[in-house]
């Protein structure tokens, strides 16, 4: 199918994009990489009157250092992120997770901003950004505000980005030297996560000094496995110790039940994948 007819605007600055959104009101929709929005429009699940394409706004694309953080423009594609040495060095968890998103064609188009605002609970981008204590820069008519990832995801497909606002950048505190792994469980190639675990650890010799863990598809938003994080701090990086800590990975989660698995199955998966992800992140 093809989308219902719409007006198309392709501004070249954030200010012009905000103006176009204000003019379009409720009937305007932002287009980033289009890898989620275009299927939605084609299935006519949504039929905006105006589509505001951010694809021509150069300022929204790219990765730079800003003191102890990386600043990633919202329109930076998965492929740009995967090719970035800065991301590999300072946010290895983002690299590991994004390598597991969809397929190469979709990674050439899809953007970090689009993925985060789309906020599909099975999406692979939220958990690593949450685990790394990322911050989201949202720009609206009144200027810029910064929201912690922990407050950004509000519910299924719902974020702190309001009507008439844009997500413009993602700030990731540098985690230089941290090991990272993303364990994504799927049954067939090219599937959305049934459950996935994003783990990054700072090692001190053979000991895990600090661990941060994000869970994908264990609730309506990405979640942190805080109980596991506390149990791992100062723990030996052995299969026994990590396995014991990982046993509480599903604590406080509310995973969905669907054709891919019921909630109990997902809780079990979360513990197994957490153990694997932490051990892999620790280089074990």
């Amino acid at each position: 199918m093809i989308p219902a007819a719409f007006e198309y605007v392709a501004p070249t600055t954030v200010a012009d994009a905000l103006a176009a959104l204000a003019e379009g009101g409720d009937e305007a929709k932002v287009l980033a990489g289009g890898q989620s929005l275009l299927p939605i429009l084609r299935m006519r699940l949504n039929a905006p009157e105006t589509v505001v394409d951010l694809g021509r706004i150069e300022a929204l694309r790219g990765i730079r250092e800003d003191g102890d953080a990386l600043v990633i423009g919202a329109m930076t594609t998965y492929a740009d992120l995967l090719a970035s040495d800065l991301v590999r060095e300072h946010a290895a968890l983002v690299h590991a997770a994004i390598a597991e998103v969809a397929d190469p064609q979709i990674r050439h188009r899809g953007t970090i901003g689009g993925a985060l605002v789309h906020a599909d609970p099975a999406g692979d981008v939220g958990a690593p950004v949450l685990a790394l204590d990322g911050e989201l820069v949202i720009t609206g008519a009144d200027g810029e505000r910064t929201v912690a990832a922990a407050d950004f995801f509000e519910d299924l497909f719902t974020t702190a980005v309001g009507d008439g606002e844009l997500l413009t950048a993602v700030r990731i505190p540098k985690h230089t030297g941290w090991g990272a792994a993303y364990e994504k469980f799927v049954r067939v190639a090219h599937q959305w996560s049934i459950v996935a675990v994003a783990a990054t650890v700072r090692m001190d010799g053979d000991t895990i000094a600090e661990a941060k863990i994000g869970l994908t598809n264990m609730g309506s938003t990405p979640l942190r496995a805080k109980a596991v994080e506390s149990a791992l701090a100062g723990s030996a990086a052995t299969a026994t110790a990590v396995g014991a800590a990982a046993a509480s990975a599903a604590e406080g989660t509310t995973p969905p039940s669907d054709l891919n698995g019921d909630a109990d199955y997902r809780r079990h998966l979360a513990t197994v994948l957490t153990r694997r992800a932490v051990l892999a992140a620790a280089g074990r």
């Binding site: 199918m1 492929a79 190469p104 064609q105 188009r109």
Partner: protein
């Protein structure tokens, strides 16, 4: 209608299109480039894969207006004056197709794999073709064709 200027397979086109026109529809219906096919409604199958500024995309999941000012290469634009593109030749020699429906997309994606990685492992070839479905071959000969083309050292564009 929105006016777009797109270079497709080396030729420049200026056209007025409805913004909702998908790139694949523009290629097939406006330009008659029916070598690029549509195999699904969900952007899963990869049959419609083309290159946009040299990188693979699913042309059913891009609007024609998004390609304005850019360069598109389709399966119809890769053969050389001398004949088949080396990847086409490798598919031919390895018997990498049966019905052939997935083939245009497979070949465009296979070329993309070698652009990044001229010497991929079998695993890397399989991962690189993750977004391309084939209902006939079982993939085995497709993977062989990509490996053969890579080994000949002339895969990427």
């Amino acid at each position: 209608m929105t006016r777009i200027t797109v270079t497709v397979d080396g030729q420049r086109f200026v056209d007025d299109v409805e913004p909702r026109t998908l790139l694949v529809s523009y290629l097939r219906e406006n330009l008659g480039k029916v070598g690029t096919v549509v195999g699904c409604d969900t952007s899963n199958c990869g049959a419609c894969t083309v290159h946009l500024d040299g990188r693979s995309v699913k042309s059913c999941n891009v609007l024609a207006v998004q390609a304005d000012g850019h360069e598109v290469t389709t399966i119809e634009g890769i053969s050389t004056a001398g004949g088949l593109h080396p990847m086409q030749q490798a598919f031919h020699e390895c018997h990498a197709l049966q019905c052939g429906y997935c083939t245009p997309g497979m070949i465009m994606q296979a070329i993309d794999i070698l652009t990044d990685n001229p010497d991929p492992s079998e695993e890397e070839i399989r991962a690189g073709l993750e977004g391309n479905l084939c209902r006939c071959t079982g993939y085995h000969n497709i993977v062989k064709a990509v490996a053969q083309c890579a080994a000949a050292g002339k895969g990427g564009e």
